[in-house]
Symmetry: C2
């Protein structure tokens, strides 16, 4: 069993850490963006280096005190807020924000886990490179959290998710063991892939303290198009046609509901074309998009299209896409679903889900179609509040996830499991894989102090 | 302690498996390409499906009988041959060779672990797609082995290694637990990354039985160049110049020694240009290579260049590169080193190693410079046999690896640890990471039956 982090325990730690390493818990430390969970915590511990992280974890492990790691707090599945059980300490990486090294020659950057994603972008651009992880929350999320949750975003199609963008990792296990691994190597085949095991484990196996990130040359040229399509099947045909001749780096499907929500919630953002289904497309290279879209128009897969003529227009197209999550938040979803299916099944999934969903509810379906990843979010009818649908949330999620499962899909394509989807993992996950995960958890965190209740439940009794 | 697989144990298994599931051990089952290890085995078990694999492992686990998984037997670090300790059973995937599903629409292929890599290429091409894993041994290696060792090859620069090319995985753990995971999803963020943990674990955590592979569109056009450069630093400058304007998919550095070895060992393969250092370059797209090389020539980074004018010429360029390992084998290396350093440090590494290496020995240095991965192989002087240098092997490897370590590099970039590099892992690996690896091994294979002696030693006593 785990113990509360009482004031004596916190004071004992404070005495062993550098000045300023302990602060009081603030509201932002125990909130999450959708307001589904309310966390708790005895104190926020702010180590200033990996040795202090190791000290904190070893002490918590010895005392069987739970630890909740904190990044930017932007996660959407409650992984950052422990609302039940013994009172934990909150371990924030907010003082470990250094960018230690940038090598444009090697296309790598070494950063501490608390570095804010937008600061990483700025540093990469300053060195004539880019870091391709792009998310709506990039102004406040921290790279340690991005890696702990294996974040996705709008560039996965070409560059992969956070896991694919991490070359080396340093992390601390529950007992304070430091796993060094800040290698700046594109290839290193020396034993088990501990890096990728920690990435995506959502703070339940250890704390990420630093990482070597993979940079890329800034594409010499790119073209961005906003395209109206007759339906999702046409969008799929368009994706394949483009991939045959161009390097597609982004392919974002957007239903008209997203633009309605922007207008309804006070955003002055209007799409350049109005259709039930639109696609925001980005490709590498200076030419070829217009010709390819003209060809697709002849095939009937494109109704109309606008190609950005300048950076301002490109920024406008992307703002339309990237502001939809904020509009969703203002409208207030009953239930949000970050799902994936095989790319080729996206149209069939949308058709099937539309058929099953109660007609009175509003569906905002948008996302990374090139990855087979849709944000399939359900809202109350206009003028009604989500609160009156609280009792239906579970049934709606079940309905969506059952359809996803029919297609061999995933109930969490990029957001992770956190606390919101622990039941879903038990229901939809492979039994053998869950068995193996529990063995890994018990091996690396036998007392179960690391982010209890996230990903797997009941591990503190192992 | 582990037990010998005696004839009674094998007979008991045979009675429970499908007809033809047991055959006698043949010489090829206990040999490896470099002749450094000689294996042993009581019998070759050839399950025909995942249930039979699970049955075999559960029985071996209960009886504490060691299991050595067999793919195509082409591994270069002795991972496939257990030469010491109790007599194991050899578990071959040779009867599980099915290609279950190819979806060009989804860019995926589902295969059984025993499928030969070349057959996978043929199947992908038949569907108008390509599978980018390309290795010298592709005619005989099996995909299960490629994944178990996280194989690399000549396309890693653009497409990643075997791990990056695997979307879903099915594997059986030591106790017979089947981990299902044949998802055809580009994104699935639901718990620990068991897939990537099994990939690269070299049969020491479980047996891979099937996989979903990632296919790619066949590039509409490509250009292949054979380029003489003045030195490795110029090759690095050329790499960066090309990456700024083209998509570089291959960048193979080749020292003149490789061509000398081809001539010396009877291969009728002559390079189109002769220089101390050459680079074989491949880029996507129909144009741009000639112009870029002309620019590099003006900068002094290119001495001379030939661009392949047809498929036959391209095949010739690649045959030069891909036949060097066979020539090396015929010459007989004292010690071979599959190392990596940060890409930007490749020239400094080569200069440093050249300075330290005894002048009488011959060095054949070639490989995937775009990944920072060199095959740095040491041979006796012409006319002498490697046998007379057997006593110096360890010291030479140590010399090379110590220099690699100075550059923060890896002693095994793509070949893995196997049995050959267990000592090196203990010497050069991070202590915390090794601790974590041992915990993982104990958690997933507590009796230590899986490929004992590979990757980690002494795990059967845990």
């Amino acid at each position: 069993m785990l113990n509360n982090a009482d004031s004596e325990f916190v004071a004992g730690l404070e005495a062993r850490l550098s000045p300023g390493a302990v602060r009081a818990v603030e509201p932002r430390d125990v909130e999450e963006p959708r307001g589904l969970f309310k966390g708790q915590g005895a104190a926020v511990l702010r180590p200033s280096n990996v040795a202090e992280v190791a000290l904190v974890l070893a002490a918590c492990n010895a005392a069987r005190v739970p630890v909740v790691p904190l990044g930017g707090g932007t996660g959407l599945v409650g992984g950052q807020v422990m609302s039940e059980g013994p009172v934990p300490v909150l371990l924030s990486l907010e003082r470990m924000v250094g960018i230690r090294d940038i090598s444009p020659e090697n296309n790598t950057m070494t950063v501490e886990a608390g570095a804010v994603l937008a600061d990483i972008h700025t540093a990469a651009e300053g060195a004539g490179r880019m870091f391709p992880l792009r998310l709506a929350s990039e102004g406040s999320c921290r790279i340690g959290g991005n890696l702990a949750t294996n974040a996705g975003g709008v560039n996965v199609l070409r560059y992969g998710n956070a896991r694919a963008l991490c070359m080396g990792l340093e992390a601390v296990l529950a007992d304070g063991t430091v796993m060094g691994g800040l290698k700046r190597l594109r290839k290193d085949n020396t034993g088990y892939d501990m890096r990728d095991l920690i990435i995506g484990s959502e703070g339940s196996l250890g704390v990420i303290t630093a990482a070597v990130l993979r940079l890329y040359p800034v594409p010499a040229a790119r073209q961005t198009g906003f395209v109206a399509v007759p339906n999702p099947a046409a969008a799929l045909a368009l994706l394949h046609a483009l991939q045959g001749v161009l390097e597609v780096t982004g392919f974002e499907l957007i239903h008209r509901m997203g633009f309605d929500f922007l207008a309804e919630t006070g955003f002055d953002l209007r799409p350049p074309l109005v259709a039930d289904w639109s696609v925001l497309i980005e490709v590498s290279g200076a030419a070829g998009l217009e010709e390819a879209l003209a060809g697709a128009m002849e095939q009937g897969d494109v109704l109309d299209a606008v190609i950005a003529q300048n950076e301002a227009q490109r920024a406008h197209f992307w703002a339309l896409r990237e502001t939809i999550p904020e509009a969703n938040k203002r409208v207030g979803s009953i239930s949000s679903h970050d799902i994936s299916v095989p790319v080729s099944d996206v149209p069939a999934f949308i058709a099937r889900a539309e058929k099953e969903m109660p007609a009175a509810l509003r569906v905002n379906c948008f996302g990374h179609m090139g990855d087979g990843n849709l944000h399939y979010n359900i809202f109350p009818p206009k003028g009604k509040s989500r609160d009156s649908y609280a009792d239906e949330r579970a049934a709606i999620a079940r309905l969506v996830f059952d359809i996803v499962a029919e297609f061999g899909g995933s109930f969490s394509a990029e957001h992770g499991v956190g606390r919101l989807k622990v039941d879903d993992l038990e229901r939809y996950g492979d039994a053998g894989r869950l068995t193996a995960m529990r063995r890994i958890k018990a091996a690396l965190d036998p007392a179960g102090i690391m982010n209890p209740g996230a990903v797997l439940r009941g591990c503190e009794t192992l």
